[in-house]
Amino acid sequence: MKLNYRIVIFALAIAFGIFFSLPSLTQSENGKKVTLGLDLQGGLHMLLGVKTEEAVKSHIKSIAASIKHYAERKDILLDSLKFNDESVSFVLLDSDDTKVIQELLGEIEGANVVVDGENISLSLSDEEVERTKKQAISQAIETIRNRLDQFGLAEPVVARQGEEKILVELAGIKTQEEEQRARELISRAAKLELMAVDEDRFARVNSMSAEDAAAYGDIILEDVANPNIKYLVRELPILEGSMLTDANVGFDQNNRPLINFKLNSEGAEIFGDFTGKSVGKRLAVVLDGKVYSAPNINERIGGGAGQISGNYTVLEAKDLAIALRSGSILAPIYLMEKRSVGPSLGADSIKASLIALIGGFILVIIFMIVYYRMAGIIANIALIANLLILLAVMSLFGATLTLPGMAGIVLTVGMAVDANVIISERIRELIYEGKSMHKAIEDGYANAMRAILDANITTLIASVVLYAYGTGAIKGFAITMSIGILASMLTAILGTHGIYEMLEKRIQKSKNNRLWFGIKG
C-alpha cells in the first residue's frame, strides 16, 4: 500500500467533514451548527406590505401642525387652516406677514407653495412624495427590527424583499400566545399624540357627528377601555411620538403598571408652552387613535416628562414601551404572505424525513455491496464522506436546512453513487476486454470523467436556477442538492480513485474480480 496525493486530499476532506459536522451531529453547545429552517423548528414567516400613501398623508398632517405652531409663536394670525391627502391651505389675515410665512414655507423640503393674495396653499412635489414613500418602508423595516431585537427571540430576521415588501422571520416561537404578541408588536403603529381637548364644545360631543367635529377642526376619539366614552379633541396634535426620547415601564401608587416617557428638548419646549397657556383645560394622551387618559392641566409642565396610564398587564406595558421606544410606524403595514408552523409539526417533519433518509441510505448501501462487492464498499465510503462534507459545509456557512432541503439530501444519497456506478461499469468493461488491472482502473476513470462532469454540471444548472428563483424552504433544497453534487465530485471521483490506487497492488495480486468488482473471472 502506498500513499498518493488523491488519498491524502480525500483523508483531509473526511477530517474536515467530521470536524465541522460534529457540532451539528452531537448538537453540542459549541461550534457552528446547521440552522434548522422555520418548517423544521417551527416559527413564523411573514411578508408584509406598507401602505405608503398613508405616510404621505401623515407627512402633510405634520406640516400643517408645524405651520400652526410656528404661526402661534410668531403671532401670525391664520384662518381656516385646512389639509387633505395632498395639500395644506390657509388664509393669512394680515398680508404684512406674507414674507415671514413664505420664508418658513420655503424651508420645508420638497414643498410647492402657491401664494394667491392672502390664500396660501402648499403641496408636495412628486419627488418628495416618492421620497416619503421610500422612507416609510425603510423606517418600517428599521422600527420592526428594533422592536423584535428587544422582544427576546434569538436572531429575528427583518429584511427588505424586492422594492416594497418586508420579510419577517421569527424562529423558535413556542406558543400561539407568543406568536400573537410578536404580531401585535410588529404591526402596532405606536403613534403617540398629545392632543388638546376642545373644552368649549366638549359638552356636545355625544350628539356630534364626525362631520360636525371636522367643521370646527376637531375630531372625536374613543376611550381605550370604554368605547362609549368619547372625547372631542383638536385635530392637530400638540406633540407627536417622534419627539419622544425614551419610554419605560413604571408603576403608580397602586402598583399598576404605567409608561413613563421623556420628550426631546424641542418637544419639551412645545409642551411647556402649551401647558403654560392651557391651565384648567385637559390634555388627551392619545395612542394609536385611542384616548388613554385626559388629565387636567394644573400648571405649566416643564422638563418634558409624561405618563401613559391604562389598564394593561405588565407584559402589555413592556411591549408598548418597546414599541414607543423603537419609534412609530408611519404607514400602516398589512399581511401579504404568512407561513406559520407549530413546533410539534416541525418535530414530526424532522422525524419523518430522518426515517426516509436513513431508510434510503441503508437500501443504497446494501444494494451497492451486493452488486459490486468491494467496489461497492469503496463507493459507500465515498457516500458517507459526501454526507459528512455536505453537513460540514452547511454548518460552516450557517446554511439553513429545510424540509425540502432534507429531501435534497435524501436525493443526494441516491444520485451520489451514480458517479461510482459509471466508473465501476467502465472498469468492468475494460477488465472484460482483457486490460491489465492498472490500465482498467486508469482508463475507467478517464473514460467516465467526461460523462460525470457533463451530467453533474447540467444538474447544477437546474439547482442554481432553483436557488435564484426559489423562495424560502425551496432554496434549502437547491442548497443541499448543489453542495451534494459538488461534494460528490470530490469524494466519488477523486476519493475512490485514491483508494483504488492505494489498493492496486493488492487487487492485482488477488486476481479475484468477483471479490473486488462483483464479476466473474
Binding site: 399581511l335 410539534s344 424540509l403 435524501v410 436556477v465
Partner: protein, 323 residues
C-alpha cells in the same frame, strides 16, 4: 452481480417505433388531462389559505364544516383528511390583510367547541404574492431549460441539445399529467420536483449521449443506429442501477417522508421512471430521426483537427524563426 451480459447488444432502435408510439400516446393523454381536468394550483400559486389542524381523536369533519358555515370568509372552504384521521387541512381561497388578526386566527376561533385541537400550520398567500410566485416559477422552468440547452449544444452538438430537450418536455408533460390524474395540489415543492426531474432525466440522457459521442468519434462504424444500440446497451447497467438507487430513496421519501412532502415525492417518483425511459427510448431515437450524419461529423472532426495541426505547425515555425 450483473444485470446484463457484457457480450450481448440489444436492438433498441429496432423497437423505437413502438416506443415512440407509446410516448406520443401517453404525452397526448397527459395534454388531454391538462386541458380537460386542468392543473390544480395550490395556495402558493393561486393564493389562499391553508390551516392544518390536529385533534386528540378523530377529527370531527362534519362538525367543523357546520362551525365554519355562515362566515363569508369560509365560503367554498374544503376540509380534507391529512395523513391520518386525526389531522385535517382546511383549504380556502380567501385571505386577510390584517397582521394581528388573520384568517388563521378567525378559523381558530370558529372551531371552538369542536374538541381538543391544535393548529399546526397556517399558510396565507395573498393574491399578489401568489401571482408573483407563479411568474417566477414559470421563469425558472424556462431558464433552466434554456441554460441546459445552451450547455448541451456547446458540449455536444445542436441536434443532441434539441433531442434532450424533447426528452425533457416529454418527461415534464407526463409528470404533469400524472399530477393532474391524481389531483395533487401544485405548489412550490412540486415545481422544485419538476426542476429536479429536469436535472435527473438530463443526467441519464447525457450519460447515453456521451457514449454515442464516444462511439461516433472513436469507432469505425458509421451506422448511427448501430452506434446508438451499442451505446445504450453499454450504459444500460448504469442506467438501471442509478435509477434503482434513486428510486429506492425517492420511494422511502414517498412512504415515510410525511404528508407534507407527499406531492414532492410523488412527482419525483413519476419523474425517475419516465426520465429513465426517455433517455433510452425518446432522446436517442430522436437523434436518429434528426438524421445525425456520422460520416459528415467525421469529416468535420478531421477538418477541425487538421486546422489545429496547421495552427500548431505555424506556431512551431514562428517560434523556431522560420517564416
Amino acid at each position: 452481480m450483473e444485470f446484463f451480459k457484457y457480450t450481448k447488444t440489444f436492438n433498441f432502435m429496432g423497437k423505437s417505433k413502438f416506443a415512440m408510439f407509446l410516448s406520443v400516446v401517453v404525452v397526448l393523454a397527459s395534454f388531454a388531462l391538462l386541458a380537460t381536468k386542468g392543473l390544480n394550483y395550490g395556495v402558493d400559486f393561486a393564493g389562499g389559505t391553508i390551516v392544518q389542524v390536529k385533534y386528540d381523536t378523530t377529527a370531527p369533519i362534519d362538525v367543523m364544516r357546520d362551525k365554519l358555515k355562515g362566515n363569508a370568509l369560509f365560503d367554498g372552504a374544503s376540509i380534507t383528511e391529512f395523513g391520518s384521521p386525526d389531522e385535517v387541512v382546511i383549504r380556502m381561497k380567501t385571505t386577510t390583510g390584517s397582521v394581528t388578526t388573520d384568517i388563521g386566527d378567525v378559523t381558530r376561533e370558529a372551531l371552538n367547541g369542536t374538541g381538543n385541537y391544535e393548529i399546526r400550520r397556517v399558510d396565507i398567500v395573498g393574491p399578489k404574492v401568489g401571482s408573483e410566485l407563479k411568474e417566477k416559477g414559470v421563469m425558472s422552468l424556462v431558464l433552466a431549460i434554456i441554460g441546459i440547452l445552451i450547455y448541451v449544444a456547446f458540449r455536444f452538438e445542436w441536434r443532441f441539445a434539441v433531442a434532450s430537450i424533447v426528452a425533457l418536455i416529454h418527461d415534464i408533460s407526463i409528470a404533469l399529467g400524472a399530477i393532474t390524474l391524481v389531483g395533487l395540489d401544485v405548489n412550490l415543492d412540486v415545481l422544485a420536483a419538476l426542476l429536479t426531474i429536469l436535472g435527473y432525466s438530463l443526467n441519464d440522457t447525457i450519460i447515453v449521449f456521451d457514449r454515442i459521442r464516444e462511439g461516433v468519434t472513436k469507432g469505425r462504424n458509421t451506422d448511427l443506429a448501430d452506434i446508438i444500440n451499442e451505446s445504450v446497451t453499454r450504459t444500460l447497467a448504469r442506467t438501471t442501477l442509478t435509477s434503482l438507487t434513486t428510486f429506492f430513496v425517492v420511494f422511502t421519501l414517498f412512504m415515510f417522508g410525511g404528508e407534507i412532502i407527499h406531492a414532492f415525492a410523488f412527482t419525483l417518483l413519476v419523474g425517475v421512471i419516465v426520465g429513465t425511459y426517455s433517455s433510452i427510448f425518446v432522446a436517442s431515437p430522436i437523434l436518429l430521426a434528426f438524421g445525425f450524419d456520422v460520416k459528415n461529423y467525421h469529416v468535420k472532426l478531421a477538418a477541425k483537427s487538421k486546422r489545429e495541426a496547421e495552427k500548431q505547425r505555424m506556431r512551431d515555425q514562428f517560434e523556431s524563426g522560420v517564416m
